[in-house]
């Protein structure tokens, strides 16, 4: 079973949870920018939360289904339609063979996950199908591609009017701050730059992508240059290259890097950051690591409960 790609959209990639355990080879994780949305979209069609789904960005693809399928769209609010009829997001939806899904464009937020019951297929590289453009693992969808998926028996939707309330898991209110933990080189910032980091407003620059978000705003300065030997990085690292324009590293970031590391975006707020678009404002609010970790564990517990509840509801 497959879908035909009539139009690829702006940047549509196959993603599972990511490519783990290959950092020593210089291979990064990639995976979804908003992993919460990815996991929920999969759950809504009865998939395990690491199944392969499509991450769609700002402008959705147009896809024709050659077989009946159950799909779910979660994340950024797209004006998506199936054969001209608006697609209800955050719930499983039956699609008939021959139907055309038009992803439309994102009205709020930047990225959505489109899951299909059974999961999409793509070539597995080092145990993952996650597209990593710079590493040369997979490519974004192109017109005329055919994307296979595993069909499953139709997911029986017991509650036809039901859809998931996304509010606790998804917000696109760009006025909300993103929480940031101090990085190793925070103390090397000038006093003015330290207060700017947690006080001033930045904007997501146009040159932002799955690798990283460049932040326009006040240029940040160090009191002295620091020599750094390349060291491993994590999703959410806030680096300060020469020139003073910070870069927040995102899902497809390189494994190692050598710029001063002034902060680390709290994992609980990475989805919020991933949903900002170029031009959106960004304010950081300080959080300490212990607090961030406590909240992260709480989020993971609550998300696990919700994923279970969805599975029960579909069963």
């Amino acid at each position: 079973m497959s879908v035909a790609v009539l139009k690829p959209g702006l940047l549509t990639t196959v993603q599972d949870r990511g490519r783990f355990g290959c950092g020593a080879l210089g291979v990064g994780q990639a995976g979804p920018m908003d992993e919460v949305v990815h996991r929920l979209a999969n759950a809504l069609v009865g998939n395990p939360d690491d199944a392969a789904a499509l991450e769609i960005t700002l402008i959705g693809p147009r896809l024709r289904f050659d077989a009946d399928a159950t799909i779910a769209l979660a994340g950024a609010e797209f004006d998506a339609r199936i054969d001209g009829i608006p697609l209800t997001p955050w719930r499983p939806v039956r699609v008939k063979a021959g139907s055309v899904l038009d992803g439309g464009r994102a009205l709020r937020g930047a990225r959505a996950s489109l899951a299909v019951a059974g999961g999409f297929h793509a070539k597995s590289v080092l145990g993952s199908v996650a597209t990593d453009v710079n590493a040369g693992f997979g490519t974004p969808l192109r017109a005329d591609d055919t994307l296979a998926f595993t069909g499953t028996d139709p997911v029986f939707v017991k509650h036809p009017a039901w859809s998931l309330d996304p509010r606790p898991w998804f917000d696109t209110d760009a006025s909300k701050p993103v929480r940031l933990i101090r990085g190793r080189h925070f103390d090397v910032l000038t006093a003015a730059s330290r207060s700017a980091l947690f006080g001033a407003e930045f904007r997501i620059a146009v040159e932002s992508n799955r690798v990283g978000y460049r932040l326009d705003g006040l240029r940040l300065e160090l009191v002295r240059p620091v020599e750094i030997v390349s060291e491993p990085l994590a999703f959410g690292a806030l680096q300060l290259p020469p020139g003073g324009q910070p870069i927040a590293l995102m899902a497809e970031h390189p494994v190692t890097g050598g710029y001063p590391r002034i902060g680390q975006v709290a994992a609980i707020d990475l989805p919020r950051l991933a949903q900002r678009r170029p031009g959106d404002p960004l304010r950081f609010e300080e959080i300490d690591l212990d607090e961030a970790q406590t909240r992260y564990l709480r989020r993971e517990r609550e998300l696990a409960r919700l994923l279970d509840a969805i599975t029960t509801r579909l069963a």
Binding site: A24, A135, S230, P232, T256, L289
Partner: protein, 241 residues
């Protein structure tokens, strides 16, 4: 930051799911050897709750499962893991400094395969043959892989051959290019943009995700370069294809 003096590193939490073990702040073969030894110790004790272990020049990153390391009494996971690591390293005999593999890399130096060889020679005040002789005489260590899948950063470059990166990076460096960037030498595993000085090219495939061992070189490996001529390059390139 927590000090773990016995093993000679400090522990620095980076976000909710990564700990950085820091062995030093410089590019140094001894420091790097301790990074690889620590990685080997963690493999040997089969340390649980880790998602990935990533060695670099002077640091070792542990990506961990925060839920696995959730401590009792509300102790944050990073402190629980850090405390466990201190015990592990205090009670485990140090591992050998990693790999004793030595991999020979055939290189066709200069000409179309190494268009910056003459510039490196001029910078070093040597002739091209002397650069080749010195580059292929040294014993190197893979300090880390990074930048791109399978890109090795090699320690052990003859100081006479140190040379800054190009002011204007190339948009495309051919796969297999052997290059010098500052005090380091490395090999581009695939066609990539890059600013290092290109002195030669190997016909070997450094990285192939479809192979059982995708990366020809692994962190801690020893490496030697062997000069080959264009004919041998072509022959080896054909058999590697």
């Amino acid at each position: 930051m927590i000090g773990a003096d016995a093993a000679g590193f400090s522990i620095e939490p980076v976000g909710e799911t990564m700990l950085l073990l820091r062995f030093g702040d410089q590019v140094d073969i001894e420091v790097n050897a301790r990074v690889h030894a620590a990685a080997e110790t963690l493999r040997r004790v089969e340390m649980p709750g880790l998602v990935d272990v990533v060695p670099a020049y002077a640091t070792l990153a542990l990506h961990y499962d925060a839920a696995f390391w959730a401590g009792r009494d509300g102790e944050p996971p990073w402190k629980h893991l850090a405390g466990t690591l201190e015990v592990v390293f205090a009670t485990t005999a140090p591992a050998d400094t990693g790999s004793d593999r030595c991999i020979e890399i055939p290189v066709c130096y200069g000409g179309e395969h190494g268009s910056d060889l003459d510039a490196v020679a001029a910078h070093a005040g040597l002739d091209a043959d002397a650069v080749i002789a010195r580059h292929s005489a040294a014993d190197y260590r893979v300090a880390m892989l990074g930048f791109a899948p399978g890109f090795p950063y090699l320690l052990g470059l003859d100081p006479a051959l140190h040379m800054p990166r190009r002011a204007q990076p190339r948009t495309r460096v051919p796969a297999g290019s052997v290059a010098i960037g500052g005090a380091q030498t490395g090999i581009y595993p695939s066609a990539l943009p890059g600013g290092w000085q290109l002195i030669g090219r190997t016909p070997l495939r450094l990285f192939d995700a479809g192979r059982e061992t995708p990366s020809l070189l692994l962190p801690g490996d020893r490496v030697r370069f062997r000069a080959i001529d264009a004919t041998e390059f072509a022959r080896l390139a054909e058999s590697a294809a």
